[in-house]
Amino acid sequence: MKTKLDRRTLLRGTMGGAAIAVGLPMLECFLNSNGDALAATGAALPVRFGSWFQHLGFIPGMWVPEKIGAGYHHNVQLEVLDDFRDRTNIFSGLRFSLDGRPHETHTSSVQIATTGIYGGGGPSFDSSIADVIGAHSRFRSLEVSLYGNRRSLSRRSATSLNPAEPSPVALYTRIFGAEFQDPNAADFKPDPVIMARQSVLSPITDRRQDLERKVSASDRRLLDEYFTGLREMEQKLSASLEKPAPLPSCSIPGQVKEAKPGTVIDDVAVNAVVFGRLLAYAMVCDQTRVFNVDIGSQGLRHAGSTFTWHTATHEEATDQKLGYQKEVHGFIASANKIFAEFLRTLESQKEGPSTVLDRTIIVWQTDHGDARTHSLENVPLLTVGSAGGRFKTGLHIAAPADPYSRVSLTVQQAMGVPISSWGDRSNQTSKTFTEMLA
């Protein structure tokens, strides 16, 4: 709980109330000497959050660095992330707990990873973060899927699932299409059609009480979620009637190519860069501050092959000379390379003296410690980026048998989510990783 009001809180509060009307120009000359805050007010530049879900984990023994703490060296499966080592934290030893409940493989642990709860009863942690840091950007969050699927792992609640966008062209249109307002446009004229849209939507909210009276308490929740969405849509409309604050680094990307839908891993690699670029532009233009990516590991495969990454984890024989499953290792290496290229894409997007990646923290999660055996022990987790200096990086943090939720609690708190614990039963924790807090 915050007890004192500092300038930063005050400004954030003001922005919360009046949204875009305050208008903060992000011109570089206004930045302080570190380039991480506005010189005049000390208000932080936006911080951002991303999640990356890569099912099927790593191969035990091939990813945990030998050294604990700072200055670690990557183990073989993470060498591809060497360029980002100083900005990465690796967590080893974390686990998921079933507390005696049945193990829906590749499902139970995904639910615990994202919501902290077996069965996935609550919001996913990205969504709680989006409620805080994404509340005033045009899109609270953007969900993308790299393999053609529309389901994302992000949810506001068990009944309100955020759909993922599998098409870069559709995402481009959604962000930079007709409704995009260029913050750097010379002239600004409120669109009369937007005003007209506002006026036709307003009667819906007036009928809310009547509607909710008719239905049961549990169904009222469904309607509440609808009305939350409606309110956000109305806020977006009013925001677009105000001249946006100029953002000198913002520009509109050139038209994108459509993704190759499907699960061939080489296509997914291409999609990752296309989506990464779009998200980077969207963030520089402050259209969103939160994104969620699902790489779709479960079904990934090579063209012409009879097996997928998932079936390979269970069926491929361990190579006796190498001591591990060769194909599975190949998939992991490819997926990690895809992640690295995605990071590089965010890094290449400049924003004043820094890059999009500098202002972001990405939490990389997975579902199993060993997919071959569906193990829930020693499940890998990575974070990349410091979110503009909020987090310390370059650490290997060993936390044997600690709940996986501990990282999501730490990140949520640092991003301003007012919670003191996360998860339930044995997946519940109120301990944060203070060593990663700046």
């Binding site: 529309r150 059609v193 979620e225 012409g304 997928t308």
Partner: protein, 553 residues
């Protein structure tokens, strides 16, 4: 927490007082746990169907729906447990504006406009009201209240002023109807049931909706709405009259198809991906055709006079397009002009052909396979879960797949060899024993649905047993499934849940058992079962929260 306790006590006290007060006044008190209406989000199919019904099938919906969610085996149940996310509403809003502008586009609006505005550049409240009252009533499944209509007209007026165009204003008002919760959700309303003391039932218009979505998967038509308004659905005779009329309508086929599409999870065909090198024939068109083939096959069986549901597992009769025929290696001439829609022909597999029933059709076979090969486990699991309503326990945690991993073993050439390895491990055997044998019976059909007699040069062994009844191949498996009691019990269970929009409550178990017996007595005739459900007062009873079962998913 402490601060909350006092008002909570006060509320409780006040409620008790009110209860006493109203009881002494002679009115039945409304208990706080009285059942309320259920909310369902329209499924993507229902949304598209309604738009086509109201505005013609030329309207391009164009947007993306929020993914439907399946609960207890059905989207119809899942739709009662999902809301609209903000990203989803944004999509609905853009679809709504696109639909509205197509409907009111200059060259087509004549067909929907009941009037012409005094001036196209200014508001015309009278004309707007005419259009919005008519369209609003259709979209909301009830007449708009005076206040609602006034609000819509005012909104259209304001929008027309701001945009300087009558039709822009009207189009925006229409789009707001299309994103309204009364359209996107089916919101059922309940009332006290005069025939049952302390009981509740759906009110007339909600009854009409439940009936119409169940039998036709569409909005109630005018006749049904009128019957509802006149209170005819509350009498046994009046209800039966409407049900029989609807069962006799060709639209019953839409309803039957929608049900089986949901029960058999055929929407999964949308996301079936096959490796292009291994299954070069398989593409999105084949996927769509395969889904349609299974639906046509089922409709042909169950809608025939005295049609017996069980025959869908053994029938030799089906329908093919030229493209689909190539998977079945059936010579079917494509004499349609290039670019013409797929032509469907009735086809009967010869008696000696290994294929029979829907389990040996491309949809079931490809959907329950991996992209590059078959999966006896997935097929067996689908048969257990989808057709027999049984649940297959998930694999245990931290299992060592040591046998499969053992590199000293020879390469497993067939699925049976691979799976035998699995089932020799005691931890795996329990479940694999109940799914694999039935899946292995279908190994004669590869991951793309084509027939084969061997895999990797080894002849396939397709023998097995289902609940102790033996079979030697897929066709015999079909017969065994046909005669398994779980098959018909499952259909009754799913169809009841589908119609109710929720898994039947514990208190409804006896009713469901009765329906199962009746289904047998009716010769497993599906429309007869639909009639029994739709004419039963239990079908419209509002179930209290206490009676409800908790969903397992």
């Amino acid at each position: 927490m402490k601060r909350l306790s006092r008002p909570a006590v006060w509320v409780f006290g006040a409620a008790a007082l009110l209860g006493i007060g109203s009881a002494t006044a002679g009115n039945a008190p409304t208990p706080s746990d009285a059942p309320r209406g259920k909310v369902h989000r329209l499924t993507s199919t229902q949304y598209a169907g309604i738009i086509a019904d109201l505005f013609g099938s030329n309207v391009n919906i164009g947007g993306r729906f929020e993914p439907d969610q399946r609960v207890d085996g059905l989207i119809a149940v899942g739709s009662g447990q999902v809301s609209v996310s903000s990203a989803g509403l944004e999509q609905y809003d853009s679809m709504a504006r696109s639909i509205a502008s197509q409907v009111l586009a200059p060259d087509v609006r004549k067909s929907v406009m009941p009037c012409v505005p005094a001036a196209a550049t200014a508001p015309d409240d009278a004309c707007a009201a005419k259009f919005l009252a008519k369209t609003g009533a259709a979209l909301f499944r009830r007449a708009l209240t005076d206040t609602e209509l006034k609000e819509q007209v005012t909104a259209a007026n304001r929008a027309a002023v701001k945009a300087g165009d009558f039709y822009t204003g009207l189009s925006l008002a229409l789009s707001s109807l299309l994103v309204a919760p009364e359209f996107l959700f089916r919101i059922e309303e309940v009332e006290a049931d005069p025939d049952v003391k302390g009981g509740f039932r759906l009110n007339a218009s909600s009854k009409a909706q439940r009936l119409s979505f169940f039998l036709w998967n569409a909005l109630p038509d005018k006749e049904l709405m009128t019957a509802a308004e006149k209170g005819e659905l509350n009498s046994t005779k009046g209800l039966a009259k409407q049900v029989d009329r609807m069962l006799a309508s060709p639209r019953l086929e839409d309803g039957v198809r929608a049900f089986f599409d949901d029960m058999l999870r055929l929407d999964g065909m949308d996301s079936v991906v096959k490796d292009a090198t291994i299954f070069p024939k398989f593409d999105a068109q084949i996927g769509a055709d395969a889904r349609e083939q299974t639906l046509r096959t089922i409709a042909n069986v169950v809608l025939a006079p005295k049609g017996d549901y069980r025959d869908i597992f053994t029938t030799k009769k089906t329908f093919l397009t030229p493209k689909l025929a190539s998977i079945y290696r059936v010579p079917l001439a494509n004499d349609a002009p290039i670019g013409a829609p797929d032509k469907w022909d009735a086809y009967e597999f010869p008696a000696n052909d290994p294929r029979a029933g829907i389990l040996m059709q491309t949809a079931f076979l490809t959907m329950n396979s991996h992209p590059g090969r078959t999966s006896a486990t997935l097929r067996g699991k689908a048969l257990r879960e989808v057709i027999l309503c049984q649940s297959v326990p998930p694999p245990p945690a931290n299992v060592q797949f040591t046998i499969v991993q053992d590199t000293t073993n020879p390469q497993y050439k067939t699925a049976r060899a691979r799976l035998t390895a699995h089932s020799q491990s005691p931890a795996c055997a329990g479940c694999h024993k109940i799914v694999d044998p039935i899946g292995l019976a279908l190994e004669n059909f590869d991951g793309g649905g084509a027939f084969r007699t061997n895999e990797n040069g080894v002849a396939l062994d397709t023998t097995g047993e289902l609940d102790r009844v033996k079979f030697t191949n897929g066709e015999e498996l079909g017969k065994v499934v046909r005669d398994n009691a779980a098959t018909t019990a499952c259909l009754v269970q799913r169809m009841s849940a589908y119609g109710l929009g929720q898994t039947p409550a514990q208190g409804q178990a006896a009713w469901i058992d009765g329906l199962k017996e009746a289904f047998a007595k009716d010769g497993y005739n599906v429309p007869a079962l639909m009639r029994r459900l739709a004419t039963s007062p239990e079908f419209y009873r509002a179930v209290s929260a206490a009676e409800k079962t908790t969903s397992t998913h």
